[in-house]
């Protein structure tokens, strides 16, 4: 476990009321790497992801134990502003969730809530974000139309652009392609590979091939516990745990 981890959890457990959803998870995410979280449904992948930007805070009765560190500082400390954390740790959701606004206003949302008013600067940053999300050419002539008129894959890339617009350091992705068709999925995967240079990306996926294709590291979660984490090619070729092997070879899950 290196000290240069961008993000890290130490002995982190998570509770929904009395029931323990995550148990004692210690894992480090290196800067500018893609890490996949894999595991069967209900194993806690999404819950884990949402502890990293404190999205679970909005659910009543949840509790975190242990530490979650961003650049070595705990994000759950009392003096930490949750809004600040979410600005540094962006998130893309499973289902594309554009706002009922125009594409421009959608992507500009995060910038505006930070107080950016200058029209030219807003435009430049919206354009740069849409380009970074590889959707600019498809939407540049319809920035004043609603994103709801786009295809699911396009919507998801607009949502990625929206997350990128505020220049997060870490990008969390919760099965970002699971609601999309194969071609749209391929585009999202290409995009993730392209984004790796600038962002620390943590992605939850159900799709093992996807994890193998896009990630540098892979972590296998099972029943709220971290079973194994390592280089993706190692996990997929020589997993050290029997359970991991069973899962990736499709014997269960």
């Amino acid at each position: 476990m290196s000290t240069s981890a961008k993000m890290e959890t130490r002995n982190m457990s998570f509770y929904y009321g009395e029931s323990k959803a995550l148990e004692n998870i210690s894992i480090a995410f290196q800067a500018c790497r893609v890490t996949s979280l894999i595991g069967p449904s209900g194993c806690g992948k999404s819950t884990f992801l949402r502890t990293l930007n404190r999205m679970n805070d909005i659910i009543a009765g949840t509790r975190v134990e242990g530490e979650v560190l961003l650049d070595g500082r705990s994000i759950y400390d009392a003096d930490v502003d949750v809004v600040d954390i979410r600005r540094r740790v962006g998130m893309v959701f499973q289902k594309p969730n554009p706002f009922p606004k125009t594409i421009f206003n959608d992507v500009a949302y995060g910038l505006r809530i930070r107080g950016l008013r200058n029209r030219t600067e807003l435009y430049d940053r919206v354009e740069a974000s849409l380009k970074a999300a590889a959707i600019w050419d498809e939407v540049k002539d319809r920035l004043n139309e609603s994103a709801l008129g786009l295809s699911g894959g396009q919507q998801q890339r607009v949502c990625i652009a929206r997350a990128l617009a505020v220049e997060p350091e870490v990008l969390l992705m919760d099965e970002p392609a699971s609601a999309l068709d194969p071609i749209a999925t391929q585009k999202i995967e290409e995009l993730i590979r392209a984004l790796r240079d600038r962002y620390t990306i943590i992605i939850v996926t159900h799709n093992m091939q996807q994890a193998a294709r896009i990630s540098d590291e892979t972590a296998f979660l099972y029943m709220g516990k971290l079973v194994e984490v390592g280089k993706t090619d190692m996990i997929f070729t020589k997993p050290s745990c029997r359970r991991t092997e069973d899962y990736i070879t499709g014997r269960f899950g």
């Binding site: 930007n53 999205m55 909005i58 009543a60 809004v83 600040d84 979410r86 600005r87 962006g90 998130m91 959701f93 289902k95 969730n97 554009p98 706002f99 009922p100 606004k101 949302y109 995060g110 505006r112 809530i113 930070r114 139309e145 609603s146 709801l148 008129g149 949502c159 929206r162 997350a163 505020v166």
Partner: protein
């Protein structure tokens, strides 16, 4: 074979009953409106709409009452809309279920169940007498505002709750504060529903008689109000007066129906404007 026949018969019977029930509603409305139209339409003309009553209210128009009802309704909305929407936001977005929320909800439900004449007496005691606003547009608007508050809170809360969770999550995940999320994403998305709540409130406020009887409505005044401390005539109260308290009840029947017709038309017109506005907003959002 016999069982199949029986099953079909029951099916047809059930369908007939539920469909009839639905038709009865349409029919009731048609009869009410038709009846009022039949008896009142002939008395509605330009003079009726633009002149004050004359000759002990047996002739002339109802202009002061139209104006009064518009003022009172607008005043009630001015009172109830901000307070109602704010309460709904608190209940739906900020409050966590607990004792305070239970008390607030209980209060709202009970407020909704209070008979309107009690609101009238309450308004009389508090606004007219205690605050010394007198019988005035101000007192009447405040009283009507309280009356429609539960309607606006209830429907606004529904509208807020119907905003998808994904909007909220997307907004928070981008680093929005709760308030930024509410006023930039949740409220705009809920606005068509909140507007519907307001329409309901307008209809209710415009039609009530008892709450304004002691707090705002004048039996007769040809003078138009010049400030919020003036008494006004109002359409529902005018109908009540003509139908029960006048000396020429039979003679003024057409005027009573005509006044009712104007009241209904007024409410429908306001509703229509709000519905068109809502449709336009929805279209713009979807395009």
């Amino acid at each position: 074979m016999e069982r199949r026949k029986k099953r079909k018969l029951i099916e047809a019977g059930a369908f007939l009953i539920v469909r009839s029930a639905a038709l009865v509603i349409v029919l009731s409305l048609a009869v009410v409106v038709g009846f009022i139209l039949f008896h009142g339409a002939s008395a509605v003309n330009w003079t009726f709409l633009t002149q004050p009553p004359r000759e002990a209210m047996t002739a002339g128009g109802i202009f002061p009452a139209i104006l009064g009802t518009l003022y009172l309704t607008a005043g009630a909305i001015l009172v109830a809309f901000p307070a109602g929407v704010a309460s709904a936001v608190y209940l739906s977005e900020y409050a966590r279920e607990g004792r305070l929320v239970r008390i607030v909800r209980l209060a709202i439900n009970n407020l909704a169940g209070v008979p309107s004449v009690v609101f009238g007496l309450f308004g009389l005691a508090l606004f007219v007498v205690f605050f010394k606003f007198g019988s005035s547009i101000l007192s009447g608007s405040l009283t009507l505002g309280l009356l429609i508050l539960p309607v606006i809170i209830g429907a606004s809360e529904e509208a807020l709750k119907a905003v998808p969770r994904t909007y909220r999550e997307a907004s928070l995940a981008l680093g929005a504060t709760r308030w930024q999320m509410i006023h930039r994403v949740v409220l705009p998305a809920a606005f068509p529903g909140i507007l519907t709540a307001t329409i309901l409130g307008i209809g209710r406020a415009a039609g009530e008689t008892a709450p304004i009887m002691f707090t705002a409505a004048a039996f007769y005044t040809a003078r138009l109000p010049t400030s919020i401390f003036d008494e006004v005539m109002a359409l529902p109260y005018h109908i009540y007066v003509l139908a029960t308290a006048g000396t020429h009840i039979e003679q003024t029947r057409p005027l009573q129906y005509a006044t009712a017709l104007v009241l209904i038309a007024l409410v429908l017109a306001v509703n229509l404007v709000a519905i068109l506005l809502r449709a336009r907003m929805r279209r713009r959002r979807m395009s």
